[in-house]
């Protein structure tokens, strides 16, 4: 059985506006259910999304979505894509449900199916009661949900969300993130989230691509990272008797752990495959040592992001 092509395959992709190189030699293949695009303002996140959508023509290289070339098969690709832009985008003077129905019809749905889907997505995003209101009267949070509704109305297999939580208050933000996670977990659509909010990306993405000045600063698989973090431990000890600490250290080294002593009461350890935290506790009991605190190492997305920004040119 042939392997499914990656969701996004960047092949030396470059975009230049006049003299300004906005994206430069982007390479990589990404297959996660939810891919995060991170980067400071002006890093090229939105330009990358717009290029993948066919709004801008690549000046170098190309990119493929689901194995289809964005330039040669743009029209076919856009049939499978849903897009939620960063800024307000709607048609004035029509009701919400009519707006979403129009967008679904433009995506190819027959009028009856489009109307049915429009009603369904309005209830799905939680705007069911407001669907007959003129879209101009919607609040900022409602407009964000409206943009999501029009993006999913035609049931796309790839969803581009550009700063989906922009301008939302905390409850609305949580609601938006919950919807994104639900769509991700349904397995019906892959999601690309562009954001400068690390927390949002961390909460709903599995893979993260950090861009800086139009280049890929780093790529990180958050699931792998979280799994790896579970092997790094930091322990605070309280020894009941003299020498118990060094005995405990020797015992867990005997289990195959790499150990570093921070001070007399604090050590760091890396668990080898097959060794679990319960083995550490067992050794502590044997050596008559009390573990006052045991923490997994927490490499947050913020650490990864800051590291990527530093690594790019040595300064933030």
């Amino acid at each position: 059985m042939s392997e499914a092509p990656p969701v996004i395959d960047l092949d030396g992709l470059g975009v230049r506006f006049g003299r300004h190189q906005v994206l430069d030699d982007l390479r990589g293949a990404f297959s996660g259910r939810a891919i995060g695009l991170l980067g400071p303002n002006g890093a090229g996140k939105t330009t990358l999304l717009n290029t993948l959508l066919g709004f801008y023509k690549p000046t170098a290289g190309t990119a493929r979505l689901f194995g289809m070339d964005i330039t040669a098969q743009g029209r076919e690709l856009r049939r499978r894509v849903g897009y939620m832009p960063e800024r307000d985008a709607f048609i004035a003077g029509i009701s919400g449900v009519r707006f979403v129905r129009l967008m679904a019809e433009v995506s190819g749905l027959p009028p009856e199916a489009a109307l049915e889907r429009a009603h369904e997505v309005f209830f799905y995003v939680g705007l069911g009661e407001a669907r007959y209101r003129n879209v101009e009267t919607y609040s900022l949070g409602m407009k964000q949900l409206l943009k999501l509704a029009q993006a999913i109305a035609h049931g796309p297999s790839l969803l581009f969300l550009d700063e989906p939580t922009n301008g939302l208050d905390p409850p609305a933000r949580l609601r938006m993130l919950r919807l994104i996670r639900e769509i991700r977990d349904s397995g019906k659509a892959r999601i690309v989230v562009s954001s400068h909010l690390l927390r949002d990306v961390e909460e709903c993405c599995e893979e993260v691509l950090v861009l800086n000045r139009g280049r890929i600063a780093t790529y990180c698989n958050l699931a792998d990272e979280r799994r790896a973090n579970r092997r790094f431990l930091e322990l605070d000890l309280a020894a009941e008797r003299e020498g118990a600490g060094s005995g405990f250290r020797a015992a867990i080294e005997g289990l195959g752990c790499e150990v570093a002593v921070v001070n007399r009461r604090r050590i760091k350890a890396v668990l080898p495959p097959g060794v679990e935290v319960r083995h550490i506790y067992a050794s502590a009991i044997e050596q008559d040592v009390t573990i006052r605190r045991l923490d997994y190492k927490r490499t947050s997305l913020e650490d990864i992001f800051l590291q990527a920004m530093e690594g790019d040119d040595g300064r933030l």
Partner: protein, 290 residues
């Protein structure tokens, strides 16, 4: 994803053909236009003059009806000569003036609502090209203008042909295609500039003012140039002169404007091309600042 089932579901039902996708935009555009009762009333009024002409044509061939309304048939025969002049000036010229109002009222509302609120990325992120979008909007104006120009014109022509007989038809056959050609050329020369201006100005009242301003300025400048230099070149920027010259060229009649046919065609082509280029420049997902 039924309304009672709040889980996300994809769509795997049938899809409409991609080639006719632009008609979705036209359909929605037409529905929006006719949602206004005022416009609907005006549009109905646009059929009044063709009905008057139809009545005149009927009376001309119905002596009994003439006696009922105490009219002498000789007077009417003298007054209503159903010929090229009748269709070109008495019918089409009047209807094109009404069509001008239709374009002025409807044109800006077609694109400015989309551009003002940045809806273009939403359209163009779907399987729809910029050409589809423009075509969809042009079809709205095309349907409206056609409905009050060449379509009733052809109906009048057909009725007159049936009343006037084979001889009349053979003598005046050119009228039918001429009405269609003049209407379509006029539609492109008026609709494209109107849409282009609306796309740049984005605010409906301003778009109408700018469009009227452009026509009036062109007319004033052209008339001044013609008077001052005694040259037809001024007519190149007078929309009504160009329309007259084109109409005369297509109907094969003597125009009221002293202007070479080729110049009129070139001016019309240049206006439509320039407008299309300006419109295309604006109808895009995002503005690229180089």
């Amino acid at each position: 994803m039924a309304v009672y089932d709040h889980g996300y579901k994809g769509y795997d039902g049938p899809l409409m053909p991609a080639r006719s996708r632009f008609l979705v935009i036209s359909r929605y555009g037409l529905r929006d236009v006719f949602a206004s009762r005022l416009f609907l009333a005006f549009f109905a009024f646009c059929f009044a003059w063709p009905l008057v002409l139809l009545g005149a044509m009927y009376l001309r061939y119905n002596a009994e009806a003439l006696t009922l309304i105490n009219l002498d048939s000789a007077d009417l025969l003298e007054f209503v000569q159903v010929n090229t002049w009748f269709f070109q000036n008495l019918f089409l010229r009047v209807q094109l003036n009404l069509a001008f109002i239709v374009v002025l009222v409807v044109g800006p509302s077609l694109v400015s609502a989309d551009l003002r609120n940045r809806a273009m990325p939403l359209y163009l992120s779907r399987p729809l090209t910029r050409t589809d979008y423009v075509l969809g909007k042009l079809v709205v104006l095309g349907v409206l203008v056609s409905a009050i120009t060449w379509a009733p014109g052809l109906l009048l022509f057909a009725i007159q042909a049936s009343l006037g007989g084979r001889e009349w038809l053979l003598e005046h056959w050119r009228i039918a295609p001429s009405m269609v050609v003049v209407s379509v050329v006029w539609l492109l020369c008026m609709s494209l500039p109107m849409l282009a201006i609306a796309a740049w100005v984005k605010w409906k009242p301003w778009a109408r003012i700018v469009f009227m301003g452009a026509i009036l300025t062109g007319t004033a400048f052209g008339s001044f140039y013609k008077e001052f230099y005694d040259s037809w070149l001024g007519s190149l920027v007078v929309a009504f002169d160009v329309t007259d010259a084109l109409s005369a060229s297509v109907f094969g009649t003597q125009g009221t404007v002293q202007m070479p046919e080729a110049a009129a065609w070139l001016a019309a082509a240049a206006l439509a091309s320039l407008s299309a280029a300006l419109l295309y420049r604006r109808v895009r997902a995002f503005e690229v600042v180089k």
